[in-house]
Every structure is written in C-alpha cells, then in structure tokens.
C-alpha cells in the first residue's frame, strides 16, 4: 500500500510535468502554486512522521513565499504583458514533455541510491521526486523558449532542491534555508523585470528570437 508521503511526492512529479507542458501561462503558474502547496504538505507530514520539527518552520515560510508570493508576482507579470500562452517549444508541445520526464526519471533513478545513502530521511520515492523535479526544471530551460516558462523552470528546480534539502539536511541551521530562499525570491523578481524588458525590446517572450549576440 502506497503511503501518503509517496503519494504527495508522485503528485509533485505530475504537477511539474503539467507546469512544463501547459501552454497557458496562468494555468501553469497556478499549477506551480499547487506543486509548492504539495511541497509544504510534505514538510508538514515529515515534521510529524520523522520528528523533523524544523520542517514546520520551513513549511510556514514556503507557504508565504512560494505558494503565495511567487505565483502572485508571475500572475501580475502575465497580466501586465497581456500574454496568454507560449509559442511552440523546441521539439514541439507533445515531444518536449516526453523527453523531459523520461530523461529526468532516468537520471533520478540512477543517482538516488547515492543520495539515499546519506539522507537524513530514508524515503526513496520523495528522493526520486526531488531529483526528477530538479531535472525537469533544467530541461525546462533547454526545451522551452518562453521567458515565463523559463522562470517557472527555475522555480521548479528550486522546488526540487528544496525537497532534497528537507530530506537530506532538515537539521541544517535555519540561516542556510533562509539564505537559499532569499536568493530564489530575488532571482524571480529580477527575472520578472528582465522578462518585461525582453517583451518590450523583442516584442515577444521567445528567447530564440534573441540572436543579437553570437560568436
């Protein structure tokens, strides 16, 4: 019988695939918010099942910063730019998610035993999920051309790292988690400002149109 922790982890993988694959920006951002809510639930669950009390604080901070604040910034960006959905990505809408999930899962399956060996919380499915989500984020940068989808890819791989951190190092000093989170929030804010400039100068959000610098 599959446990709740594994179910939540699998749901996180599925949501990352949906964020990756959805053309509609608003839907993708809301799904990212849902994914982060799942992450918060995992933190809360682990804090009780594995007596990792620190994760309660992590959950609280993540709720405000990543479930509410980051989606708010991105939704505002989409509204300001008046964009609805992304252009055709590398490999097409159908093929790119398949490439992303298959390679991400393959990489996760091959490296998770190493992570497992040193993890504070010995749960294989959440560990696989954390690496898979991280890799889907990386593939998001490679395969999707939209600036907003690339910001979401950044947010996703940050979620993957956050989950890894919770499983492998939840007892680390608070300042470490706060520092990483602060960087992530500022990165999203800066990327959003650059996205507006990008749209202004290129008349599009497609990074493949930015070919001024070559050689």
């Amino acid at each position: 019988m599959i446990d709740l922790l594994s179910l939540l982890s699998i749901a996180m993988i599925l949501t990352s695939l949906i964020v990756f694959g959805l053309r509609n920006y608003k839907a993708a951002i809301l799904t990212y918010g849902l994914q982060t809510a799942l992450l918060v639930s995992i933190f809360l669950l682990l804090s009780t099942t594995h007596l990792a009390e620190q994760l309660c604080t992590w959950a609280f901070i993540a709720l405000f910063t990543k479930v509410l604040f980051i989606p708010f910034i991105l939704l505002r960006l989409v509204k300001k730019l008046g964009v609805v959905s992304e252009d055709e990505p590398v490999g097409g809408f159908f093929v790119s998610p398949i490439i992303a999930i298959s390679f991400s899962l393959a990489i996760a399956m091959s490296v998770y035993p190493i992570y497992m060996k040193f993890s504070l919380i010995h749960e294989s499915i959440p560990l696989i999920a954390s690496i898979t989500i991280f890799m889907i984020g990386i593939f998001g940068f490679i395969l999707r051309n939209s600036v907003i989808k690339q910001i979401l890819a950044y947010c996703m791989f940050e979620n993957g790292i956050h989950l890894s951190l919770a499983l492998m190092a939840y007892n680390s000093p608070e300042i470490a988690e706060l520092g990483i989170l602060t960087d992530a929030i500022f990165a999203v804010i800066i990327m959003s400002v650059l996205a507006q400039r990008f749209h202004h100068y290129f008349g599009s959000l497609d990074v493949s149109k930015a070919t001024e610098l070559k050689g």
Binding site: Y115, K117, I175, L194, R197, F198, Y201, L213, G215
Partner: protein, 494 residues
Amino acid sequence: MDMQQLFTLLLAVPVLASLIIWFAPTQFKLLSTLHVIASMASSALALSAVMKVMNGKIFFAFHDMLFIDALGGVFLSLIGVTGLLVNLYSVKYMQWEVEKGEITTKDAKLFFALSHLFVFTMTFSVLANNIVLMWVAIEATTLSSVFMVALHKGKKSTESGWKYIVICSIGLAFALYATVLLYSAGFAVIKDSHSMMLWSTLMAHAKEINPDILKLIFVFALIGFGTKAGLAPTHTWLPDVHSEGPAPASAMLSGILLKCAILGLIRYYAIVGNSMVGFEYVQTVMLVSGLLTIFIAALFLMRQHDVKRMFAYHSIAHMGVIAFGLGVGGFFGLFAALFHALAHSVTKALAFCVTGNMVQIYGTRDMTKMGGLIKIAPITAILFGISICSLVGVPGFAIFVSEFWMVQESFNTALYIPVILFIIGLIIIFIADFSHFFLATFGESQSKILSREVAWSANLPLIGLAALIIIFGVFSVEGWVTLLNSAVKIIVAA
C-alpha cells in the same frame, strides 16, 4: 579594532554605502564623491584584514560561520586592490556615458549603488566558512550584478542580462546540490549540524568522509562554480555578458567575480584532495577542464574583432589557465594558480577599462575600425599594450610569472602531453592577440575620432593597474609571496 568588529565593518560598509548612494539626491558629483569614499573605505578594510592573515593566522566570527584565512585573504586582496581602482575609474566612465546621453544620472546612481552591493556579495563569499552561505553569496553576486551588466537599454543588453542570470543560476544549482551532499556526507561522520556545515570542520574531517560521494560532489561543484567562473563548456554566458556590460562592470566581473567562483571551487578541491580520494583525482579533472577551456577560448578568440568580446574570451582562457594550475597541483602548481588569480585580475581590469577609453575615442568596439591609437591617445595605447603583453604572457609582465611556473612544474612532474597542449593553446592566443593589437594601435584610424587622449582622472587608476602588472612581473613582492605560501599550505593541509 578587534576581528569581530572588522568582520562586521567589512560587510556593513559596502551595504551601507549602497543604501546611502541609492537614497542620495540624484546629483552626479555627490554620487561620485560618495562612491569614491565608500570604495576607499571598503578597500582599506579588506586590505587590513588581509594583513592580519598573511602569516597563516585564521580568524573566526559569528559562531564560526564567517572566517578569514590566507586563502580567503588572496581573494580579498583582489577585492581591495582591483575593486578600488576599477571603482575609481568608473566615476569618469559613468560621466562620459551620462554626457553622451547613453544613460541617465539615475542609471549611474543605480550602477554605483549596485557596485557596492556587488562588493558586499563578493566579500561575503570570500569570508563564508559555512558552505551554504558561501553558495548563497556566490549566487547573490549574480543577482547584484545583473543590472550592472544590463545597465544600457536595448536588445543586446537585455539578452546578455537574461543569459547571465539564467545560465549562472542553472550552473549554480548543481553547486547547491554539491553543498547539500557534502553536508549530508559530513553529517554521517560527525553528528553536529552546525559544525558540519563549516568548511574548516569538513577539511579537518575530510579523510573520514565517504570517498565515492566526494568524487560526485567535486563533479557537481565543478559544473556549478565552473559555470560561474567561465570554465568550458558552460562558459557561454561570459562573452555576451562581459562584452555588453559597461567597461567597469566587465572589469569587476572579470577581475574579481570569476575568481570568487574559483575560490568556491578551490574550497571543494581542497576537501576532496585531502580526503581518501586524494589530489590525483581532482588534479586530473582540473587538467582536462583547464585544457578544454583554453582551447575553446583560443579558437573563438581568433575570430573576434570586437575588442571587449576578445577580452571576454581571454577571461575564459585565463580561467582555463588557473584550472590548469590547479590540475598541475603540488606546491608550485597551486602557488602559480593563486598568483595567476591576482595577475589576471589586475591585467583584465586594466584591459576592460582601456576598452572604455577606446570606445570614448573611436565610438566603436570594432578593432577593424580603429587604428593609429598610438598617435591619437598614446597613454591609452601604452596601457592597451601593457594589458596585451601581460595577457599573452610576455616576460616582465605579471601573467608570464604564473604561466612560467606552471610550465616548469608540469615538466618537473612529467606532465609532458598536458603541458605541450597548454603551450600550443598559449601560442594561438599570442598570435591572435598581437594581430589584433597591431590592427588597433598602428596605421591610420579607420573611423572618425570622437575624442583625443582621455582625462588624467580616468587614466590614473589604470596607470595604477599597469604599475601593479609590471611590479608583480618583475619583482618578488614579499608580503604577497608570504600570503600565497600560507594559502597553499591551507589547500594541501600542510
């Protein structure tokens, strides 16, 4: 002043300077005065901290989360010396930009404010003993410098800013995984969550950490910090960013920032090298990475006519040289790699600032449209010549010293094939550079000259950089040698 106060001031002064400049009235004279005063204060603090660790002493602060050792001191001295001279030059450069209408005074204010924030993040990365905080600081260097790079409005500037934040963030994500894995592997040895996040503790217990995981950690660290340092194949952001940013921003990025990322990598190099994995593994990885980087940079360098882009590829090549030095290893290899960090820092800061003068004179960065620089602006031409001579490794200039030691140590340790490849790479760079140098410096100007020799206030900091290149190329500076000796001993845990 005790060390706790010094640590506080080292971090607080640039942050306060940034805030004061940001909230000051938008008057260029006032802003530039504040900028100069703050730069001098930051530099004095950095250099006073370096003096204290020169003989190998280590000081800790804030529950050991911050520290300064001789290794950090080497890189802090770059912030203190190169940072100050570039910041002094930036005043005149920004004045030109405002006068030409390329930017507004408000943009110059943003640049000055961000440059101090940038100094803060780089200083923080050097002082961090906590490995997560070191990562946070290195990531923050990207965030604080994005709008220094993308200061100008327009397509190219925006594209370079986007590439910078995206590629560096992806790369550094791998470094974060390296950090998390190192902490977990360390915690498995000693169950103390606070101390196993400290580099000093991890170094002390390096031999007890699982060697297999350390190998993976080093590869992740190389991808992560290597991306930020401009090592191939993840160097692709660097030519765009260094060529599109304002000259002082390029000088800071190339002269200091890349080295801070290398320091991050050296911290991992030291842990893995001193573990049961041994130095052979890290040296082999660094040799491959260094040679690959040098060759990729050399091949692209030949085709460049944009003077800033040419220097950007040089930055990549010289990061490859530092990586090669780490690959050669041993006392002299490491000594040479650290020496190269300073030599390249002052040289490249000079090179990029000179491009600022050249753009002011010709109104273009294209060297095929230049010519006759020696007649139009002899001081700028000489400074350009000094930077080129140092970059290609002419004897008597700083970079020659470290490259010579690397070659010598490679022969001593029978690394014949790598050193031959290294020399071939350097010869390609040598030929490409001198052909570019002659194109811009001699003959007749190929475009309308907008200005003659630039003001002394712009050239003085550059003359300071040029003097350092020659001093370090000709003399053995005792204090610097002592500092490097102490730093190398830390890496090899002697």
